[in-house]
């Protein structure tokens, strides 16, 4: 029993220590925002990697989820003759929760893992050391552009995801469930409020920062060898996913639990 408690305590302390290190890492990253030199090329490259190349996966995820959501709400609503709420609930569900969370998780899978693997490999093959000897700060050259790119581009991705998710619901609603196209769109548009959209984009920005930061942090902290790279990648994705879900809860609380 005491062993179990001691184990739990150690795990909790470990988690707090890791959070502390991540917070320091985030602070150091932010401090480079105001100190030149800057690396616009790296930033542009990161924008493409995080943003543009993620569009297909974001679109597919949102599309199928929006469609499935419409089917479920229709089936559920039918039990108390509330089938008509499909457009409204699809819109709210996508914009407030599913859009940001799913896009965040997809980015954790796609971007966090690739950032962590890339930086960890650089660490293991002494490329990070080489950067330092060439008077280039790895935080400035590798971390900041990626985090900044994710911050800028994730709200856009989430916005795209929201729209495509709603479109998925719209297609299912009008083609399969017999909704009138104009009414569906009208109900969607009038039901959504500014806070819904703002919360969606803010969540996107926060999740983007989390995803990129975790990739960089675990990459930089990786051990030597191929196993180190594997471990860093795995840990970064797990941490990013958990932190995104936790942050989502806190943000939902902040926006809607009035």
């Amino acid at each position: 029993m005491t062993r179990l408690l001691a184990g739990l305590g150690a795990a909790a302390l470990g988690l707090l220590a890791a959070l502390g290190r991540i917070a320091i890492f985030a602070g150091r990253t932010a401090s480079h925002l105001v100190r030149p030199p800057f690396y616009p090329r790296e930033f542009g490259h990161a924008l493409m990697q995080v943003g543009y190349f993620s569009l297909p996966v974001v679109a597919l995820t949102a599309f199928f989820t929006g469609g499935a959501l419409a089917l479920q709400i229709y089936a559920g609503g039918a039990r108390f003759s509330a089938e008509a709420v499909v457009p409204q609930i699809v819109a709210i569900g996508m914009v407030r929760e599913l859009g940001p969370v799913l896009v965040g998780l997809m980015i954790a899978a796609r971007v966090t893992s690739s950032i962590a693997a890339e930086i960890a490999t650089m660490k293991v093959t002494e490329q990070i050391d080489a950067l330092v000897t060439l008077s280039t700060d790895p935080m400035k050259y590798l971390t900041l552009p990626r985090v900044l790119a994710a911050l800028v581009v994730m709200p856009v991705l989430v916005g795209v995801g929201d729209v495509i998710g709603i479109y998925g619901g719209y297609l299912v609603g009008t083609q399969k469930l017999g909704f009138n196209a104009a009414t569906y769109l009208h109900n969607t548009a009038t039901f959504l409020q500014a806070t819904d959209i703002v919360s969606s984009l803010v969540k996107g920005a926060v999740f983007g920062v989390i995803a990129a930061l975790m990739g960089c942090y675990y990459g930089m902290a990786s051990d030597r060898g191929a196993m180190g790279v594997g471990r860093a990648t795995k840990a970064s994705v797990v941490a990013a996913a958990v932190l995104i879900l936790a942050a989502n809860f806190l943000l939902t609380q902040a926006f809607f639990a009035a």
Partner: protein, 248 residues
Amino acid sequence: MIEIRGLTKAFGANHVLRGVDLDVGRGRSMVVIGGSGTGKSVLIKCILGLVTPDGGTITVDGTEVTRQPRDAFLARFGMLFQGAALFDSLPVWQNVAFRLLRGAGALPRREAREVALDKLRRVGLGPQVADLYPAELSGGMQKRVGLARAIAADPEIIFFDEPTTGLDPIMAGVINDLIREIVTEMGATAITITHDMTSVRAIADNVAMLHGGKVRWSGPITDLDRSGDPYVEQFIHGRAQGPIETLR
């Protein structure tokens, strides 16, 4: 110009450096020899601050390295890593010109490329490799690109970690001559790590042998053959029998 006193470094229970003392004069070529795993790479990484020493002092030009402004300090150095450590996201010429393309006083891309091509030529690589990526090169070619990158900004102090391993004998000769030339003509200060006794004789003004975490013997190259030290004797003649254990 580089003075190391009582340098110690351990990784956990592995005491790699146990009090290293070493002096390298300005414009001199120091070669560090020693068995595999004796801490030669760790030693030069300590000087550059890539590895934090546990104890001892390292001074460059009379000032302790930890007190020197980091950017200005590093700008004086060039370093060839043992594994070349090329940036695999950048083509060869941008690797070589990395420092020239960035920071204060950065050159325009065209000029930087010219310098890179020139440095590549000096390590025996033609312009056709300039636009390849490091992964497309052989191990020896990567090493030479690493060398070109180390000398690209004409640094005052250059560290070469095993510059000729993985090269054919002719190319090794070219690189030995290049290092010698950089020291004699450009007046650079060099520390070279090598296992290759031909290189030692071609490059060194002074030799230091690392063993057991300390400098076992050091002296001018002319004294190497009459060091009278059984460790040095065994090492330079590559004998399996002698005071140095072969299991380490």
